[in-house]
């Protein structure tokens, strides 16, 4: 019997049927009678709000049909065009969602310059400084974990264990409020950068270790057989190959850090999230600024994704065919 079922499930029409039933069910359940779609179908089903279950299912079925026809049409295009069209459609739906909040756009426009020059600028420079220090910490911790020195191994694993095992917000508080007890009064931005680098250094250490271990031992052995020194083998043979494995997850961590940098706002650093939470408060318009900040974060992330792709390309040169 499994073969017979496979005969159906492999058909394109089967997946479309599933899609149609799925979208229809979701739209029926969420009752779209009060929306624009309901208004649009009023000539066919009468007053949408009076139409009861018949109206709900009819609107659901129309929505299902629209989605299925849309998918079928898009599939006729070349692959790259398919991606572009679907991205555009999702983006329009997304903007329509935001539009439905009835936001005050003049308000957003008047606050946007400060949100970017003060907020986004602080976010980016805190993140860049933190990722740089985190990479150095991670490299040291990863090498200590891979080396033969017992104390170095112990220090590295202790560090990684603690900073991976406690919440970043707590580390921010510990560094900001704890260090002054020892006599070091650090101000908010350095404390934030320290907390972010220590925390992400611990995560990156494991990524670096995995990347270095992922380079086949034969590479280092072959280099040793050619008479290269240990340091040179690491720098010129192992490290560049390890980078190919390290870059994608590191880029991931960096984008995560970009958003976690919002935690430094508890110390009063005027970064993107802090301004998003406070700028609209006086006029009780914080939804405006939160949505704007979401979009700014997203744009910055996309830029970093593109940079990451370039770095990947660079370190991937060796394995191109």
């Amino acid at each position: 019997m499994p073969a017979a079922i496979g005969e159906y499930t492999d058909q394109p029409w089967f997946m479309r049927l599933v899609l149609f039933v799925g979208v229809t069910a979701v739209c029926t359940a969420s009752d779209l009678r009060g929306t624009m779609l309901g208004q649009f179908l009023a000539p066919a089903i009468g007053d949408p709000l009076e139409s009861g279950w018949f109206g709900r299912i009819a609107i659901g079925a129309v929505a299902g049909a629209v989605v299925v026809i849309n998918v079928a049409l898009v599939r006729l295009l070349p692959f790259v065009a398919q991606i572009g069209v679907v991205w555009l459609e999702l983006l329009i739906l997304f903007l329509a969602f935001f539009y439905s909040f009835d936001l005050s756009y003049p308000f957003i426009l008047s606050r946007l310059p400060f949100l970017i020059t003060q907020g986004a600028f602080t976010t980016i420079y805190v993140s860049l400084a933190a990722i740089f220090i985190a990479c150095l910490l991670a490299l040291a911790a990863a090498l200590a974990r891979l080396g033969s020195s017992g104390p170095a191994f112990a220090v590295a694993t202790f560090y990684i264990s603690f900073f991976r095992g406690t919440p970043l917000l707590l580390q921010v508080y510990l560094i900001y409020l704890g260090l002054p007890q020892l006599g070091f009064v650090v101000s908010a931005v350095p404390a934030g950068i320290a907390a972010l680098s220590l925390c992400y250094g611990a995560y990156l250490a494991e990524i670096f270790r995995a990347g270095i271990q992922g380079v086949p031992a034969g590479q280092a052995e072959a280099a040793a057989a050619l008479g290269l020194r240990k340091g040179l083998i690491f720098r010129k043979i192992v490290f560049p190959q390890a980078m190919r494995l390290i870059v994608p997850p590191t880029g991931n961590q960096f984008i995560a850090m970009l958003k976690d940098s919002s935690l430094v706002s508890v110390m009063g650093v005027w970064e993107l999230m802090f301004l998003a939470r406070t700028q609209g408060r006086a006029e009780f318009k914080h939804l405006e600024m939160l949505i704007t900040a979401a979009i700014v974060y997203w744009i910055i992330s996309v830029i970093f994704e593109l940079i990451q792709a370039r770095i990947e390309q660079y370190y991937g040169k060796g394995s191109e065919r």
Binding site: S110, R111, F114, Q118, P167, L169, L170, Y173, L174, Y176, L177, G178, P180, Q181, V185, S187, A188, S265, V266, M267, G268, W270, F274, L275, R277, T278, Q279, R281, A282, E283, F284, K285, H286
Partner: protein, 277 residues
């Protein structure tokens, strides 16, 4: 979630605070006088007391009071904006000199901070959606009530509010809520209330001036009954510098005597809250 986070933060602070680190006698006052700078810690999301105005500068009643204190000390006011729990944790380590942040001088806080002078009294009121049928405070018994976490309004609902400042008027616990929902700050309570009567919350408890400000900005809310208690709100300073405290108390007394507090209160609240009615 807020509760767990709050507990974690409090435990961390408790661990961190085992080592005392107050100010030495006269140290803060000397610093303010010699640098001619008074550093204020302030909440940027607490209108109309303190907030970012449309020029992206700190503004509000508390900020105006702090500006006046700085002026009378012959200093410039500098403002920093750490999170509220970082301010109330005490042990400021010289990062800032003073908090003019509508802080209630509770016994718990008095263990880590000094409260040299009460500068105004704020009425606490219940607020509901404008469609609500509640006509008096008694109608709110058994309802779902939203409140800022860790603040005096939450203590009032939990019936463990202690205000041991001089001149605090007596009060009664008028409401037994069915459920208390704690939020990061008061404005989040209004956001959940505005969705609709009983959708997420039946009522909220907050400062009357903050409620009125929200209503003025188009929130579909209304105040229920008379204020349930009056909170004395005090200037806070780090523990250990009595000279600085005396100076602040002297300035606040002068500002009350010459009508400055009344003028600023009327400017921001439309009424004089510098004394209890």
């Amino acid at each position: 979630m807020n509760h767990i986070l709050g507990t974690v933060v409090r435990l961390t602070l408790a661990a961190v605070l085992l080592v005392p680190l107050g100010a030495a006698a006269g140290e803060v006052l000397d610093r303010v006088v010699s640098t001619k700078t008074l550093t204020l810690s302030s909440d940027a999301a607490y209108p109309p007391q303190s907030f970012l105005n449309d020029k992206n500068e700190m503004d509000g009643f508390d900020v105006d009071v702090a500006k006046e204190i700085a002026k009378r000390m012959g200093a410039e006011l500098k403002i920093v904006t750490p999170a509220w729990e970082v301010i109330t944790a005490g042990r400021w380590g010289g990062r800032w000199d003073i908090s003019v942040g509508s802080m209630t001088p509770t016994k718990e806080r008095a263990q880590v901070l000094d409260f040299p002078a009460v500068y105004y009294y704020t009425p606490a009121s219940f607020v509901v959606h404008e469609d609500s049928k509640a006509a008096s405070v008694a109608d709110l018994n058994g309802e779902v009530i939203g409140v800022c976490g860790g603040c005096t309004y939450e203590n009032y609902l939990k019936k463990n509010l202690v205000i041991d400042a001089e001149g605090a008027p007596p009060f009664e616990y008028a409401v037994t809520p069915g459920e208390i929902r704690s939020y990061e700050t008061d404005t989040n309570v209004f956001d959940d209330l505005r969705i609709g009567d009983g959708k997420r919350l039946d009522a909220g408890l907050s400062a009357l001036p903050t409620i009125e400000e929200a209503i003025k900005n188009g929130y579909p809310l209304k105040v229920v009954g008379d204020p349930v208690f009056y909170e004395p709100l005090s200037v806070a300073i780090d523990k250990g510098d009595a000279e600085f405290g005396a100076k602040v108390a002297e300035i606040i007394a002068a500002m009350r005597a010459d009508g400055t507090l009344t003028r600023l209160s009327t400017k921001w609240y439309g009424v004089d809250l510098s004394t209890v009615k």
